[in-house]
Every structure is written in structure tokens, then in C-alpha cells.
């Protein structure tokens, strides 16, 4: 019985919602067919959104019209001066890291990867396919200053090869396709 009542209640609720939706969209078949959905409909704020009534827009317009209330001053806070003591945050983080569980510790970012030594880059260059236009096939790192030097020497000389673009995200998307 209880189930019956709750099902009936749900059905009624769905009907009312449908009525309101149809009414709001102007799809009612004839007057009185659906329940009145109240003052919201009568003001027409569902059927026709009136941007001029948007309080935020009016407030911004007033604020802009008022002009600067005080001398313009950037709000960038005065950052801690160099002479200030070193922030303790790093020490706190380091101390916490020591107490971390192995799982959490595994989530801490690794130290930035060092660039391959030039000798290794040279070795890689000897086996990797080298584009004709790329004199330095280093994997990603390209000395901008040297590029400019080469530009100065020969404006048409090409710059080093691009970094490898293979990423963990690409295989993921390929699988999802």
C-alpha cells in the first residue's frame, strides 16, 4: 500500500513537472489544461530572458560610469623582501615528507629530470633518424642563444629538431576511440 501511494505520488509529481515544463515552453494545448506555475510565468522570466533586468549588468554599468574611485594602484601585494627570512614552508614540507607513508611519498614529485649530457645527445644523434634540416637532433633542449647565433650566421639555417611528442595521454585517447 505504501508503495502504491509513493508510486502515485511520483506519478503526480512527474505530471506536474511536465505541465510546468510544457507551460513554460508555451506548449499548453488550451487554457487551464495545466496547472498555473505561478508568478514566474506571469512575469515571463522563463519564456523571455530579459538581459536588461540582469542586476549584475546594471551594477557593472553603474560602477564603470562612476569612474575610478581612488588613484589607480596595482593590487599586487608587496611580496616578501629578499632580506626576509626564508619561508619556513619548505622546511615544513620536508619535515612532513619524512613522516609520509610510502604511498604518499610515492606521490611526491620527483626531482626535475636533468638534461642528457651532451655526450649522450651526440650518441643518440648517431642512431636516431636526423632530419636533413636539423643540425642538432637533441631531444627537446635547444639552446636559443645558439639558434640566434646560427640565424646571424645563416638566416636560412634551420633550428634543431622538435621534442618527442609521444605522451601518455595520446595512447589513452587512442584506446577510447
Amino acid at each position: 500500500m505504501a508503495n502504491h501511494l509513493s508510486e502515485a505520488g511520483l506519478a503526480m509529481s512527474a505530471t506536474e513537472d511536465t505541465s510546468r515544463l510544457f507551460r513554460a515552453m508555451g506548449l499548453e494545448r488550451k487554457a487551464g489544461d495545466y496547472k498555473d506555475i505561478g508568478p514566474l510565468t506571469r512575469t515571463g522570466r522563463i519564456a523571455a530572458f530579459d538581459e536588461s533586468a540582469l542586476p549584475m549588468m546594471a551594477a557593472v554599468a553603474r560602477s564603470l560610469d562612476a569612474g575610478p574611485a581612488e588613484p589607480a594602484a596595482p593590487s599586487v601585494p608587496a611580496f616578501m623582501p629578499v632580506s626576509a627570512p626564508a619561508p619556513a614552508l619548505a622546511e615544513v614540507i620536508a619535515a612532513r615528507a619524512e613522516r609520509m607513508s610510502p604511498l604518499m611519498a610515492s606521490l611526491t614529485p620527483p626531482a626535475p629530470a636533468e638534461a642528457e649530457p651532451p655526450a649522450q645527445r651526440e650518441a643518440a644523434a648517431s642512431v636516431a633518424p636526423v632530419p636533413v634540416s636539423a643540425p642538432s637532433p637533441s631531444p627537446g633542449i635547444s639552446a636559443l642563444s645558439r639558434v640566434f647565433e646560427r640565424y646571424a650566421a645563416s638566416p636560412v639555417e634551420a633550428v634543431p629538431a622538435a621534442p618527442a611528442a609521444g605522451t601518455p595521454l595520446k595512447p589513452l585517447f587512442d584506446r577510447l576511440r
Binding site: 596595482p74 593590487s75 626535475p112 635547444s142 611528442a165 605522451t167 601518455p168
Partner: protein
């Protein structure tokens, strides 16, 4: 050398996506481009296909700005990239102290590029009033405030116009993710266009292709070159390029009547 800084009082407005794609579009227009990530999220590199686990970066590498040119990555798109890197909290704080207190810090790091009039530096800033804003001011950066076509961004317009965020130098404004199918978005776009026509330099329509491109770690021009998003970003780059050519490049030598006769 022009420097363009993409920033915003609020986060999540698409600064990084815009920086990356505008950089590529500017390079396609013939400029040499260096993009610089000032955000500890270190996500600018992802737009250029740099692997997720590659945490190299100029902040993570230490605080010797003279080394930055050697840390730049040449991307497939032809743009040079200085990623923030997987920096520690200590490195981030030290970097921001330098930005705030050392007036020559950025000049020392970018001198190589700043000397070239045919190159552009594009900076991607974190949201809010960050030290990088003032540091970029010192090297004459053009600020571009990125806003969404929504009520929250709209509410920040007076803050920007009154100079509380950018100082006396008013930023250019780009309205991002404008959705003409939505009344509110359309109304905000019309309102901003009417109020700051001289500062609004671009509107980027909301386009899923732009959002999807980051998932593929490539530019919108590679992902969906015919998309509305690609069109709008390219248009923005053209507007910037035309403006920068006037401001940055030396004028063409005028042909004097006497010389022509000679």
C-alpha cells in the same frame, strides 16, 4: 621584441590554452615566438606535446636567468617554450621573490630574445595579482586580460578598468568562450563590446575543439583547423600581429624624393 602577457583576475578562463594557440598562430604569421610559463601548474607545455613526465623547466632548473635560453624547448609547432618545470615550493617562492624584487631579473633571462625585433615573447600567468605582472610591466609587456562571457567575469570589469589589478596601464581584453546560443553569454559579450570597444581585441567562441585539443596535446589548428575556435584564435593573432608590427618593428625606410631621383 614585444612581450605579451596573458593574465586574468580569475582562474579557469582559458589563459594557457589561449597563450599556446595564439603563440602558434603568431609563429605561422612569421614571428619567432618564445612562450614562457609563469604558472606553477606547469601546464603550458602540454599544449605543445611535451610529455607529461617531462618536468624540465626554467624555474625548476634554479635561479640563474642567464641559463634560460639554453633551457628553451623547440616544439613541433616551431615555437620555443620555456616550461615552468616541476618546481618545488622553495623554488617557486624564490622565483617569485626575484620577480618582485629584482628589476632586471626577466631582462637577464630574456635578453637574447628581447634584442630581436622579429621575435615575440608570450607569457602565461597564473590567475590573480601575482609578482609576474609587475615584473612584466618593467620590460614593457602588453597585458591581455582574458575574461569569460559570464557574470563573474563581468563583475571584474570595473576592477580592471579602475586599475586595481593592472595599474595605470589598461590591458587589452579578450573575451573567451563566448557562446552565442546562450542569452547570458551573448548579452555579456554585447555589453563588454559596447563598454570597452577600444580595449576589446578579440572574442573567442566557445568551441569544444579547443578544449579537446589539449587532450590530444596539440594545437587547435592541428586538432580542428576549420573550427570556429581556430578561426577566432587565428583572427586574434592577426590583430595582435598587425598591432605589433606597428609598435615593434622599425618603420620601412621612407623613399625620399631626392633619393628616388638619384
Amino acid at each position: 621584441m614585444p612581450v605579451i602577457a596573458f593574465s586574468s583576475p580569475k582562474g579557469g578562463v582559458g589563459k594557457t590554452t589561449l597563450t599556446a594557440n595564439v603563440a602558434i598562430a603568431l609563429h605561422q604569421l612569421g614571428w619567432g615566438v618564445l612562450v614562457l610559463d609563469f604558472d606553477v601548474q606547469n601546464s603550458l607545455r602540454l599544449h605543445f606535446g611535451v610529455p607529461l613526465d617531462d618536468e624540465r623547466g626554467y624555474v625548476a632548473a634554479g635561479d640563474t636567468p642567464e641559463d634560460w635560453p639554453d633551457l628553451a624547448l623547440k616544439t613541433e609547432a616551431g615555437v620555443f617554450l620555456l616550461p615552468y618545470g616541476g618546481a618545488t615550493e622553495d623554488q617557486r617562492l624564490r622565483f617569485e621573490r626575484h620577480l618582485a624584487d629584482d628589476p632586471d631579473y626577466l631582462t637577464r633571462g630574456l635578453r637574447t630574445v628581447l634584442e630581436r625585433p622579429d621575435w615575440i615573447v608570450l607569457a602565461d600567468l597564473p590567475p590573480g595579482p601575482v609578482p609576474a605582472l609587475r615584473a612584466l610591466d618593467r620590460i614593457g609587456a602588453i597585458h591581455i586580460a582574458v575574461l569569460l562571457a559570464d557574470a563573474t567575469s563581468l563583475s571584474l570589469l570595473p576592477v580592471i578598468e579602475r586599475g586595481h589589478f593592472y595599474g595605470n596601464k589598461r590591458p587589452l581584453v579578450v573575451l573567451n568562450q563566448v557562446d552565442p546560443r546562450r542569452q547570458l553569454s551573448r548579452s555579456v559579450a554585447e555589453f563588454v563590446t559596447a563598454r570597452i570597444p577600444e580595449h576589446l581585441i578579440g572574442q573567442i567562441y566557445r568551441d569544444e575543439a579547443v578544449a579537446e585539443a589539449i587532450g590530444w596535446q596539440r594545437s587547435v589548428f592541428e586538432q580542428a583547423p576549420a573550427s570556429v575556435g581556430a578561426r577566432d584564435i587565428k583572427r586574434l593573432a592577426e590583430v595582435l600581429s598587425a598591432r605589433l608590427k606597428i609598435e615593434a618593428l622599425p618603420p620601412e625606410p621612407a623613399v625620399q624624393v631626392g633619393e628616388a631621383r638619384r
